[in-house]
Symmetry: C2
Subunit: 289 residues, 2 copies
């Protein structure tokens, strides 16, 4: 039996049309659109592309968008001042600092300076703490929200399922585990020091792969009716020298076996981008209500 | 083979003598002792006893201690004002709100009003978030800290162990899971919706029982070399009508089987009380450094 392939692109298109309608209606009601600002420091080429895409998405859906670019020599204080000025700008409801920042900057202190009510990446420790306490007034990072959305395209009945989250990053693994706890899932959070991962995966109804190791998780490690969400985006080269993107799960062997699986690309990625906009709408509404 | 019985009382005495020395030395260096304040609202009899014990502990070890009592009709604003005045008091380094508060009050908003740098119960969401992100500048709740201390009396080599935390309370289960993640433990957080708990426990090197169900966890569910930390404190009546305290683990059947186990009483309880004082010392040092 072949798995149901969860189509993140199609799902993202559906949500986009909802967002378009909602932004239109908010604009009519309040006389201004939700505003998103991105602070980018230095010349990381991937970051430049990501921020450009975020801007395209946002503008295409009627948001007001600003990019604040600082060159790679900007001081901690320069970046702090930029963040503070955006915190104070009533046109901006969501503010993100594009990571990574250059090595001479302290990203934790910069994220701490973001107004938690504008923290649409959900990285401020206050928002992490609200999630960890099971309170819903904070912001949850976009990738776990996107993963959760994709899981719900397969089943909405998560209570009592066993999940294994592979990887304990601040951006994905940890908040994903905390979010699933809220959904009454029994969650095991695993990492580089975990022993016998295949044995743990064999028992999992739900696997979130987010450790950044190409095709690491093999189909034979997985339970037959499992739902697999692959957050990995790894750039690999095949024997002919061609570059391609692959996830943390060996898609070919997994899809012959499991209940449902996200592809890479076209799975989690598009949903992550969409949830940045959904979080910005949430920030807008909470500010104006 | 009988288990090693982890003696929380003895361990607490050891830590107390360290604290006595440290407070003495801080007093000499800075000319004032660490200060702890407890806000208590209403006439919950257990709370009155707990606060009295906290005050006895603190004073006996050289701390400055204040209890702020408000009667059961105090408004949210009355309690907020009390918290704010203690936040502003430089003699006080640690501030806790004794829970539960009367039902007409919003405990979340009250805890949110505590200066996170005085939040020695580790309940402010900012502190929860710092723990969830694996950062060590915040405060961790006292019970998980006490549990961790007791685990380390058995082994300091936690990396790669499998832990099952039973119960997902904000005060114990959740921060316990987050703390163990920092120690490179593979953590499964379980709760009322978890299926087949005995099967999960059978695989666990470390069990933290914190769901508040007397003698619920049976010895036969446990792995033979497991370390068992029992956070439960349940008041039960035997067939002759006599009241006694019991944990969430069936101690008799468990201690015949496992590697090490905490008794109830005399296990986690005394360590929790000690860690309130240790957190207050941490707050004092961070304020004055």
């Amino acid at each position: 039996m072949n798995a149901f392939i969860i189509n993140g692109l199609k799902e993202a298109e559906k949500v986009k049309s909802e967002i378009l309608n909602e932004v239109d209606s908010l604009q009519k009601t309040y006389g201004l659109p939700p505003g998103l600002a991105v602070v980018r420091v230095g010349d990381d080429p991937a970051s430049a592309v990501y921020v450009e895409k975020k801007g395209q998405d946002a503008r295409a859906m009627g948001f007001y968008f600003e990019e604040h670019y600082l060159d790679g020599n900007a001081s901690q204080n320069d970046v702090l001042k930029t963040i503070q000025s955006i915190n104070a700008n009533p046109q901006i409801h969501g503010l993100i600092l594009q990571l990574p920042v250059p090595a001479h900057l302290n990203p934790f202190k910069l994220v701490n300076a973001i107004d938690p009510q504008k923290d649409v990446d959900g990285l401020h420790p206050l928002n992490t703490g609200l999630l960890a306490q099971g309170r819903d007034e904070g912001f949850i990072p976009c990738t776990p929200l996107g993963c959760h959305h994709l899981i719900e395209t397969v089943t909405k009945d998560l209570a009592g399922l066993k999940a294994v989250v592979v990887g304990r990053s601040i951006l994905v693994g940890r908040p994903m585990a905390l979010l699933l706890i809220q959904e009454d899932v029994t969650v095991t959070l695993t990492h580089a020091k975990t022993q016998k991962l295949p044995k743990l995966l064999k028992e999992a109804d739900l696997v979130i792969a987010a450790m950044g190791a190409p095709r690491f998780i093999k189909g034979e490690w997985l339970k037959e009716d499992a739902i697999i969400i692959d957050v990995g985006i790894n750039r690999i080269q095949d024997s002919s020298g061609k570059m391609s993107l692959t996830g943390d799960v060996d898609f070919e062997s997994a899809q012959e076996r499991v209940r449902a699986i996200t592809p890479v690309p076209g799975g989690v990625g598009p949903m992550t981008r969409i949830y940045l906009l959904k979080n910005t709408i949430k920030a807008f509404k909470e500010k104006l209500n």
